[in-house]
Amino acid sequence: MALRGFGGGSGPRRDPFRRRLLILTVGTLTVFLVLLGQLWYLQVLEGARLRDLSERNRIRVRPAAAPRGILFDKNGLALVDNRPAFTLSLIPREMENRDTVLARLSVLLRIPLGELMESLARVPPDSFMPVRMRRGLTMEEVAKVEEWKLELPGVVVEVEPQRVYPSPRLGAHLLGYVREVSEEQMRQGRHRRGDMAGQSGLERLLDEYLRGRDGGEEIEVDASGRPVRVVRRQEPRPGAHVVTTLDRRIQEVVERAMGNHAGAVVVLDARSGDILALTSAPAFELDHFTGALGRAAWLRLVRDPQAPLLNRAIQSQYAPGSVFKIVVAAAALQEGTITPFDRLRCAPTFQLGTRTFKNWDDTDWGELDLYRAMVRSCNTYFYQLGLKVGLEPIARYARAFGLGAPTGVALAGEKAGLVPAPRSRSRAGDTVNVSIGQGPLLVTPLQVARMMGAVATGGILWKPRLVQRVEAADGRLLYSEPSQMSGYVDLSPAVWAFLQRSLWGVVNDGGTGAAARLPGIEVAGKTGTAQLITNSDARRGQDHAWFAAYAPAQDPQVVVVVLVERGGRGGQAAAPIARQILHGIFLERVAASALRG
């Protein structure tokens, strides 16, 4: 041990090896401290964030859309249903080469590339949540995607419940369409992107009930994306079922009867105010909205001059024409201005000062009583009667019959119509016009139907009911609506009896509504022709045709109101449609009477 540097003594100071060992020890400890610092940084300072990342690594959320509730008619027939449909979705995180995949997809399914890019632009690129691209793929398209699966990473076809309609236009305005939520609806926070929501009609009104609650699964996956186990599962809760007051059979009859006409039909149950059928023509096709409605198709629908999206039964306001004579007659009789025995001249023209008002034909019918004037719908008679009654009482009775105010039906966008203000300064010319349902007077077909219901029942104004009840999928009652009276027209029974008899006469006693006459069932009704332009000519089809009826006359069950836009005369254009509808409703009775001979 005589070697230099390793000799006796101890302690690093005297032994260079130990000194150097000390340096190595300090160096080692320093590195350990650095490691410790990094551990502290990762596990304590960044721990929460990295824990979150590890959760996101292992958990995939797979949403499951809840089927929308089903709408039934009063007899339990489905008006809309659901069926499984294919939805094309993209999972951004799994798309290795986004642009290539999108380009391939665009060519394969003929979807504009811009549309795909746009839908993806709003979601983070590392999201595992599928983004819906297009709904309602055809089998052929699904087959194409499956065939190219390997070339299309991140492209998936999901199966989701989708609305299906027994016939695409049936009750289109009533039921309403379902469409992906708009940006604005999403901002309200109750929807997620790509959710379907009712956008009009009952689908919109009852969306909260119909929507149900989407479920889903949280799945733990391993590094290669294989599912290991389901961490949490929430079954989708199907939407509630809605039982409406509609009668699908009558609705079908009504829509068939309207054919290619533009206009509206309302069928009410006279005994309850239930809406049995309601249509607005032209209609739109509901299933256009559910699948992939392109921008072009949408614009075509919105810009269509026929306005197919408009629900004419509640949103269009028309002059009531001669249908309004019911109100004028009621006012005159109840106020005692006239009795059924008094007669007035029914000449071809009526002279007021310098102005000439015409009847609708050139025949001089001589002196008529009120019954005949109603049956013949004589304008010149009613000009004189109106002037005798005065504008203010006529307006008062019009309001009593529910005109000039919304009916309160459970549909959005109902119009109130127009009735001259109570104490407005009236000019005689206005009064003359109002007497035959022209001038400052506007009604909706639904208001007219409600008014006819009052005549049929002797005064009851129903609140038109569309929804009977809403039931959860397990049968629990969530909501129910009894049939409600919203007003009562207080006329003497004699006046009601007179009105009812004269409406019977319009159809059955040589009146203007003879075209609505049916064997086996007595129909009561009133025709109307709403002039659009002064001095327009109904024969050239410039006027709106009305026919408002109830049946059977002695025991009213249904009210039917038909409006044909630019149909011409009510008796010629609207009454035959009403007849066809009533025929459909009372099929057995009509058939039975035919058998009797």
């Binding site: 070697l3 080692t28 596990q43 721990g47 929460a48 990342l53 590890s54 292992r58």
Partner: protein, 363 residues
Amino acid sequence: MFKVDRRLLQNVDWLLLATALALVALGLVTLWSLSPGRHGSGAVWRQLSWLGLGLLALVAVASVDYRNLARAAPAFYVIGIGLLLSLYVFGRTVSGARRWLPLGPVTLQPAELFKLIFIVTLAWALTARWANPPARATLAAALSLLVVPFVLVVRQPDLGTALVLLPVFFALLFGAGVRLRELGWLGLAGLAGAPLAWLVLRDYQRERLLVFLDPFRDPLGSAYNVIQSKIAIGSGQLLGKGIAGATQSRLAFLPERHTDFIFAVFAEMWGFVGALLLLAAYAFLILRGFEIAGAAREPLGRLLALGVTALLGAQTLINMGMVMGLLPIVGIPLPLMSYGGSSLVVTLMALGLLLSVRMRQSL
């Protein structure tokens, strides 16, 4: 040769041995927890049998006088180089690297064994013609002892094992009293050779180095390992997720979780507190190694103890550094804990050498 001397037994460092065995046990538990049940226990049993073999080797190495071992160093060195060369003929290729030599039912990683041979040979070379500081000729000899195996191992390719030879080499030279200036020149020469090394590197090795410089170069590719490893460690937070909750490890988001990244598994399961204790255990081992080197009275024992400690320390620190994202990913297992027979047996043999020096310090 195997005559048991009472004084030898008195000087066995039981605490060192116990700490090392505790770390092996922790490694086994971690291994088992990665895939509990019958299916995964295969690895545990295999590792246990390697442990048995390793303990036998430890006892064997410890019972031989290290001075006798050093005398046989040239022979060992030649055999070691021969084994490395034989890989080019008999080597089994696993994922692109020829590191394994099939020996009957098992495979051997000659490079692992060579680390030990390298320490013994270098210590022998530095002390055979002893001078402090060593003569230039000695230095040149030492350098050539390094270069040949280094190139052979890098070409396997096994960058990690080759790199570990460097700190061992410098630690031994440093301990042998080489002047700092000369060490500095050697270091500079090494740095100057680095661009040459770049040419020798395989593509994936280059990629790893680049990724270390810019982790988000390829987050799902080469950088995936280190990102997932950081997530695993960090998500353990203060107290860990426990065995069942360690999703990063158990769902295989963490790569190489049985071997190189086993520290991340442990840190995910037991959190900062567990990792701190683990770090303390390794620090204790290394400091104890330095202490043994310092306590030895003659150069060969000192340098052997220092070399073994440097090997252990360098592997531990580099492994943890790369798992925590402080160093580039170079495949270096964590001594004692990582799954792998060669590594465990060689580490235990190295500890045997350390124990041997300690046992004979007062002879």
